[in-house]
Symmetry: C2
């Protein structure tokens, strides 16, 4: 069985072909969800799926399913990702997982191999959230994290008169299937790492055990605008100072708690002039951790610190949670299947945590799930510079193939 | 002699009348240097000066001098301020010192009192620097801090085809007198505090002993843009973290060095998104101190800290000095004259440091000088909300009168 491999050139040619849809700068991809580029990508995928003899199915949120019969009528083993991109993204984020899923089907066809369980490949709608919020929408509707009505009513983030449901209809991707009926036996997603770890450690396959929890918090500080030269230090209400302290402490929290990743990427002062004490300041923090308990402890510590700084400076503060996603631990059995497949194929592996969010973490709420990562050059993603080598794309797809075969019982 | 007082209603009426020129929002004043509003203000002042029998004189940078003969031909005792305002300023900043200077002359006229030394009131050109750089231009040309040619060639900060010399000519304020010929025996400037100290301590007269030195520094940090979720902490080059640390340390320096005032009012991150590590960040710091040695020590400490943070985060840094002005210590004799005059008039006094820059600090380079402050409501200045009470304006002008009499030997 270890001698089974995917068809490399078919995989790579299809990735090349898909990357042409919405191509920018001769390399990157601009393919926002439910735009004409997304429709073109979906249409191409549909053609390929039908050519591969898959049973095509579209659900009410536009998720595309391609089913392949098994020996039994058990729940299918499912795998896939998404075809949409951020505004100026790469050709690997999402697309790799979808085209690899198709390649798994094609390889099984070539081998006339029928698995015990049926198989189902998926292209999820609007994973990126770059045009409609929230992100990971397709899998959120499947797992009932949000209702289909709420998803349908989402509006284009830049043109509020464009409604998601109408876009689905216009593009011909408003299906009839109930998303909640998708309850596979397992779900596996192949994706690029979008981080630097695998490349740095020269490892081919990341065996993803968990997805970090995320907490986004906004702190709005109100102080008092004053002259930098004439205002004594003890009479200041310097909102900028409060925000600087929060940003510094946020970063330093990562040294205190194992596994924590902390970022203060957004800071705004008003009036933002060299010789004026800021009267208003805003900061948004991004804290992530695979351990829910640690994430909560860190967030509590950060908020406590923010209150203390604010009161110490006689300012006022408003704190709001922008996003709160619990960490996800993938099921040991599926993770082990990925690891075993990779090792049996001779690839180096590393157990790791996903730093970014993925459809697989939603699917983990309704079935055993796991993910396969391959290296990202320089860790770059959501950029036209995103790159993963053909060898690594092939390796990841081979691991997906063997994982699917193992999970579906061939 | 202590029974001599200025004519309150004349002073206040003239302040009222002057505030009408360029009035905004029924209170504030928009009177940028060498605009038609400034010309109107100058013309009004000129009329008043001529009515008061002063010998009017305009120099090459447009500074207006009003001379009153003394018993001797000694160098004059000089006093004044400026009539220009920031974009949306108040009616007190600058104007008070000019109109009070005129009132001193008028009061002496009323009393038929001829001083031993001649007297000279001044309206300096472009103190604010809000339309042409640098600020304090008129006094800088007088004291040869910049050449007349450089000042003449200054262009409107918003319309680079407008040249200062042509504006002087157009408005009729390009005089023939050599600015460097203005070498008075002493110079005194009455001004609003522009800070909260006098009001807070319920003191009428600030006896200004010195003007803080100023150091403005820009730090530009280059790191690496990366994903907040997928980039391990140890691989980050977070320019935003470096800048937050610099801002925090800048403020905390003020606790380490007596008399230091520190502000980090300008911070900019790129791309400034919640889930992206900032690849570029800029911060500008404003450090002030009346003691040059401490100012230099603090600035050195800040730059050393900035380098350490930058290298600790594997980033790169560029540091540039935007402004560097040495502290000025006013001469003891003139300061004492202000203090004695205020006390003899029964006003409460406080020895203090000027937080902002003033023409008097330039004049201190060529003659003994000092300043008189009166309270600013809530410490607000450079705002249409700027306010000082009529009583305080009168008090300050009385102190100016008695200081001038004392310095000129009546």
């Amino acid at each position: 069985m270890n001698t089974i491999h995917i068809n490399e050139s078919r995989l790579l040619n299809r990735m090349e072909r898909m990357a042409e849809i919405g191509m920018v700068n001769g390399n990157g991809v601009h393919r926002l969800s439910l735009t004409k580029e997304d429709k073109e990508a979906r249409d191409l995928l549909k053609t390929w799926m039908l050519e591969a003899g898959l049973d095509l199915d579209i659900d009410k949120i536009g998720n595309m399913y391609g089913r392949r019969k098994g020996e039994t009528d058990d729940a299918p083993v499912a795998f896939g990702s998404h075809l949409d991109t951020v505004g100026f993204g790469g050709r690997f984020d999402g697309s790799l997982g979808v085209i690899a899923a198709l390649e798994v089907m094609e390889t099984l066809n070539d081998l006339n191999l029928v698995t015990n369980s049926p198989l189902c490949m998926v292209n999820f709608t609007n994973e990126e959230g770059a045009r409609f919020a929230p992100d990971m929408m397709g899998s959120m509707v499947v797992t009932a994290e949000i209702s289909i009505e709420k998803a349908w009513n989402a509006t284009d983030l830049k043109k509020s008169d464009i409604i998601l449901k109408e876009e689905l209809e216009r593009l011909g991707y408003l299906g009839n299937t109930d998303p909640a009926s998708f309850r596979p036996a397992a779900f596996v997603e192949l994706h690029i790492e979008q981080g630097p770890v695998l490349e740095k450690e020269q490892i081919t396959i990341g065996v993803v055990e968990s997805v970090q929890g995320i907490c986004w918090t906004r702190f709005v500080i109100t102080g008092e605008v004053n002259h930098a030269g004439t205002t004594p230090m003890e009479l200041r209400k310097d909102a900028g100072y409060v925000v600087s302290q929060i940003a510094t402490y946020c970063r330093q929290l990562a040294g205190e708690y194992p596994g924590l990743r902390t970022t203060a990427g957004l800071i705004e002062l008003e009036p933002n002039l060299i010789n004026v004490i800021a009267g208003n300041a805003r900061i948004a923090t991004d804290i992530r951790c695979p351990d829910k308990h640690i994430l909560e402890k860190a967030e509590t510590a950060l908020e406590k610190f923010a209150y203390e700084c604010t009161y110490g400076e006689n300012c006022e503060i408003e704190i709001s949670t922008l996003t709160q996603v619990d960490p996800v631990k993938f099921e040991r059995r599926v993770v082990a299947s990925v690891a075993n497949s990779a090792r049996s194929l001779g690839y180096t592996t590393k157990r790791m945590v996903s730093g970014a969010g993925h459809d697989a973490q939603l699917m983990a709420g309704v079935c055993p799930a796991a993910m396969i990562f391959i290296p990202s050059e320089n860790g770059i993603s959501h950029s036209v510079k995103e790159y993963s080598s053909p060898d690594d794309c092939v390796a990841g797809t081979n691991v997906l193939l063997h994982t699917v075969i193992s999970l579906s019982g061939s």
